[in-house]
Every structure is written in structure tokens, then in C-alpha cells.
């Protein structure tokens, strides 16, 4: 989107980027110079393909060899925060 158009419609552009999460590339003299992206990408539902991929990887994790012995993850993470 040309800078001149962004200047004229900035509020609307910000609202749209914030709502959709789709970045807007700002151009000067036809060249892309700046990308406007949401500070935090919007939360969205996973697609069925993404759900299937997550499920497959999680199932694969079960078969991966582990260290033996029980442990407490809260203590382990807490130790990492020291």
C-alpha cells in the first residue's frame, strides 16, 4: 500500500491489521519499505491439518526414549527460574 494512502487511512489500516492479523506492506515510490504487523497476532482456531499434525507429533513423542526415574516438573522448571 502506498505511503500516501496509508497516511490518508491510517486508523482504518491499523484496525484492519489488528483485527485480521494480515500484514500491510507500505511502499514508497513503488518499493516496499515497511511492514505493518499486529503487535500480537490474533488468536485463531487451528485448521484440521494443523490439528492432525499436532496429534501425530504428540503420538510420536510417546515412542521417543526417555530418561528413567520419576521427577517433578514444577521443581524442574522452578530450578530453571533461579
Amino acid at each position: 500500500m502506498p505511503l500516501s494512502k496509508v497516511k490518508a487511512t491510517l486508523s482504518e489500516v491499523v484496525r484492519t491489521v489488528s483485527k485480521t492479523g494480515a500484514p500491510v506492506v507500505i511502499t514508497v515510490d513503488g518499493q516496499p519499505v515497511v511492514k505493518l504487523v499486529p503487535a500480537t497476532p490474533p488468536l485463531r482456531q487451528l485448521s484440521s491439518a494443523e490439528v492432525a499434525a499436532y496429534r501425530a507429533l504428540t503420538h510420536a513423542l510417546v515412542r521417543v526414549p526417555r530418561q528413567v526415574g520419576s521427577f517433578d516438573a514444577v521443581a524442574l522448571v522452578g530450578e530453571g527460574r533461579r
Binding site: L46, L61, R66, Q67, A73, R81
Partner: protein, 131 residues
């Protein structure tokens, strides 16, 4: 929570698994940006094999985990939560995220649950708890 849920030998594994599974599979878990680092670091310190770490890295970088950077606004919210509820800094950030994104806070830490229920009843909590 996540480490517990993927580690059958972890003492709260079943409880964590149950809580993680209570979230619909097409809904992302909202986590602070340091989450990935913390998960990988903890598993590496436990001495888990590269194969496990590599698989976990792919999972936590995937769309199921919606990583939120620590903005000034989020930190200010977390600070207020920590001050009012007397929570640890890391816990307060998770609560701030749940509040900001209107998502359920998954924790079985009884102390956190009690303090949140008392001071921030608008934050939704999962069913499970432990000491």
C-alpha cells in the same frame, strides 16, 4: 504443565494430561514468548535425548502454542496482578495473559488457584488442582 503432560514419569502426568486435553484440539494454548525456551531448557537439564528435544521443539513452535511477546502493557498488568494477589512474577504473567486473551488458565497449583479465585474471579480456571 506441558512438560508434565508429555512426560509419563512426571509425578503429575495424568492430571496435566487431563487438563491439557480439556482444551479443544483446534484451540491454541496461549503462552508467553519465553515458554519454548523454558520447556526445552528444563528437558535438556533433565538430560533428555536430542530426539525428544527436537520433536518437542517442533511442537512448541507450531500453531498449537500461541506465543505472546512481553509488551510493556502485559508486564504492567502482570505487575498489578502480582502485587494484588501476591503471586510469583512468572505466574503473574500467565494470569495476565489469560486475562488479556480471555482464555482459561491451566494450572494445578493450589496456591495460584486460590489467590486468583479470591482476587481475580474473572479469570477462568481449569478443574484440576494439586498442592
Amino acid at each position: 504443565m506441558y512438560i508434565s503432560s508429555i512426560s509419563p514419569l512426571e509425578v503429575h502426568h495424568e492430571q496435566a494430561l487431563q487438563l491439557m486435553r480439556s482444551v479443544p484440539e483446534d484451540q491454541p494454548f496461549v503462552v508467553p514468548s519465553w515458554f519454548r525456551l523454558e520447556v526445552v531448557s528444563a528437558l535438556a537439564r533433565r538430560g533428555e535425548l536430542k530426539e525428544l528435544l527436537n520433536t518437542v521443539k517442533v511442537l512448541v513452535h507450531g500453531p498449537r502454542f500461541h506465543a505472546v511477546p512481553l509488551s510493556e502493557a502485559l508486564l504492567e498488568d502482570a505487575q498489578e496482578i502480582a502485587e494484588v494477589a501476591g503471586l510469583r512474577a512468572y505466574d503473574a504473567v500467565y494470569v495476565a495473559l489469560a486475562r488479556e486473551t480471555k482464555t482459561r488458565l491451566l494450572t494445578f497449583d493450589r496456591e495460584v488457584r486460590t489467590r486468583i479465585s479470591r482476587h481475580f474471579p474473572e479469570v477462568s480456571l481449569g478443574e484440576s488442582e494439586t498442592a
